[in-house]
């Protein structure tokens, strides 16, 4: 399907746009879910916990975003070879860590970032096989 003429063909750009949309939905969905759980706090009983989780808008928004992102990611996989797709998906790990730092203001130790870089590298290697 891709003749290798260059990555600026409309079809290729559409693909990368779909990748960007997928990653945005998947990572944004995770942020929403985390925000929901921050709001839930730590109630002590199972039924309280489940009720509080279901009561948050962010829970449903987050789940919807992750669901949509997964579906659009299937669209990416349908057209893109796994060797390119895997590393791109693993970038989502970096995006989540960066967004957690910026948006959720989580402290991120250097070891954690180093671990994420290793994971991204490992997934890229997996994609090259």
């Amino acid at each position: 399907m891709f003749t290798g003429r260059g990555s600026l063909e409309p079809a290729a750009m559409m693909e990368y746009a779909l990748v960007a949309v997928s990653i945005a939905l998947l990572t944004g969905g995770q942020l929403l879910q985390k925000r929901a759980m921050i709001l839930v706090g730590k109630p002590v009983a199972w039924h309280e916990f489940l009720a509080a989780v279901a009561a948050q808008r962010q829970t449903w928004g987050g789940v919807a975003c992750v669901g949509l992102g997964s579906m659009s990611w299937l669209g990416v996989l349908y057209h893109m070879e796994v060797g390119k797709a895997f590393p791109l998906l693993s970038l989502g790990f970096v995006v989540v860590v960066v967004l957690s730092r910026l948006v959720l203001r989580e402290p991120v130790p250097a070891v954690r970032l180093l671990g994420v870089v290793l994971i991204v590298a490992g997934v890229s290697v997996l994609g090259w096989t």
Binding site: A36, F49, E106, P109, V111, L114, V116, V117, L118, G122
Partner: protein, 144 residues
């Protein structure tokens, strides 16, 4: 029975592990269903209940696992920061890799390169897991 999910030390690790195992299981169930369809085609599914049954079982198992893994994930998020928990999901790559050894039809075959990649992922996961969350997210309740 009143389970206090925030008081037990094992809730966080079990939630993360459960989410990863369940989502990997869901993917394998879905793949098994798709394998069945690719062997027999889609047409028999609509006309023959006996042919459709195994595929339905795989799909229901897959969706069920996805749902449970979502619940486990939300519990994990209640215990850990997102930047700590989310990278741990990459353990699922390792699980799918191991599944290839047990059920060759369901996953891609092993190779040296894949082993290197998996080793790197595992090393990364160990590093992330060792970056103990400095601040577990905690709303300040009126009563601790």
């Amino acid at each position: 029975m009143d389970l206090k999910i925030c008081r037990h030390f094992w809730v966080g690790p079990v939630a993360v592990a459960g989410s990863v195992v369940l989502s990997a299981g869901a993917q394998l169930f879905m793949k098994a269903g798709m394998l069945h369809v690719s062997s027999f085609g889609l047409v028999p599914l609509f006309s023959d209940a006996a042919a459709a049954m195994p595929v339905l079982v795989w799909l229901i198992a897959g969706f069920g696992c996805y749902g449970l893994s979502l619940l486990a994930w939300l519990i994990a998020l209640s215990q850990y920061p997102l930047s700590f928990a989310y990278p741990l999901l990459s353990i699922s790559y390792v699980l799918v890799y191991l599944a290839a050894a047990a059920w060759p039809r369901l996953a891609e075959p092993l190779s040296e390169t894949r082993t290197v990649g998996i080793a790197m992922v595992m090393a990364g996961v160990v590093l992330v897991a060792s970056s103990s969350p400095a601040s577990k997210n905690r709303k300040r309740p009126a009563t601790a």
